[in-house]
Amino acid sequence: MSAPRPPRALTGAWLALLALLGLTVTLAYQPLGALNGPLAFTIATIKALVVGIVFMELRQRRPLAIAAAAVGVCWLFVLLWLASTDFTRRTIIHADVRLATSDIRARP
């Protein structure tokens, strides 16, 4: 009996994931300035897609299962997007409040 072999797609995905892991660690040490963060996130997203499409077999799931998976990701983006409108503007709002307060105090 020959030794069992994994499906080729699984082996390919596993090797690609390990290669992407090596790539993201190597890139993290390169002085790329503001690009380091987005690159790490992009590679993480590609790795997650490989796991999702190949290991979790999203490529052959029914549309209903794909929709259920997509909904979670969609709501996550809505959460991050709406909340970011707060914390990315908060310093400016604080500055405006301080300015407004000082204006009121300055009034005769």
Binding site: L10, L17, L18, N36, A44, V54, R62, A68, A69, A83
Partner: protein, 214 residues
């Protein structure tokens, strides 16, 4: 006891498999939002304390972090292979692969414990013993609060996954799960891969920032 397949409430085996598949994906969607709250916390604090976050991230152990990522990716590969093999009725191989995935999960937890003890010795545990020689210590402390909450919650998921995989290995060995009926293994596999996906993002958020800095 072997379950009847299809169960009484389903019209046929296909409907039962589809229901199991749909159910786990709905559950995983809620899990995305469970971890999503943590990702939001991370985004907000990293936005406000970028230097403190980078300084703190540099103090994490990149060797353990990278090794643990490789370990989880490999365990996912083993589980995906097991799911493919059970459909072909290769019972012995499936048990071996699930056993390997369990051992890799335990190795992940062992390394995580080693990392925690190292961080404790280095005074990096907020609330218990935290000392950070940096002018941006406030941001660094927030980073480590996120780090311990996120990684411990993830570790709880890994522990649940290990137990579930061990039960699946036992059920395959007993002959409960076969080429014809293996929905529980398919569902457990999806959960394990999800735990892997969460770690992929945690790895990028925790171990990689600030590495190219001074």
């Amino acid at each position: 006891m072997r379950e009847s397949f299809p169960a009484a409430q389903f019209v046929d085996t296909r409907q039962q498999t589809e229901a199991a598949e749909f159910g786990i994906w709905i559950f995983l969607s809620t899990e995305i939002l469970f971890f999503g709250g943590l990702f939001l916390l991370y985004s907000a604090y990293r936005y406000n304390f970028p230097i403190g976050f980078s300084a703190a991230a540099r103090r994490t152990d990149i060797v353990i972090g990278t090794s643990n990522t490789a370990i989880l990716l490999t365990s996912s590969f083993a589980v995906a292979w097991a799911v493919a093999a059970v459909a072909e009725g290769q019972r012995r191989l499936v048990t071996l692969l699930l056993g390997a995935a369990v051992l890799l999960g335990v190795a992940f937890l062992g390394l995580k414990g080693l990392e925690y003890s190292k961080e404790f010795r280095e005074h990096l545990v907020p609330g218990i013993d935290f000392a950070f020689p940096d002018p941006h210590a406030a941001g660094s402390e927030l980073f480590f609060i996120f780090y311990f909450i996120a990684t411990s919650l993830h570790a709880v998921h890994v522990i649940i996954g290990i137990i579930a995989l061990a039960i699946m290995a036992w059920r395959v060995e007993r002959g409960d799960l076969t080429a014809r009926y293996h929905n529980p293994l398919m569902v457990t596999g999806l959960y394990w891969h999800f735990v892997d996906v969460i770690w992929i993002f945690l790895f990028a958020l925790i171990y990689l920032p600030g590495r190219s800095g001074p």
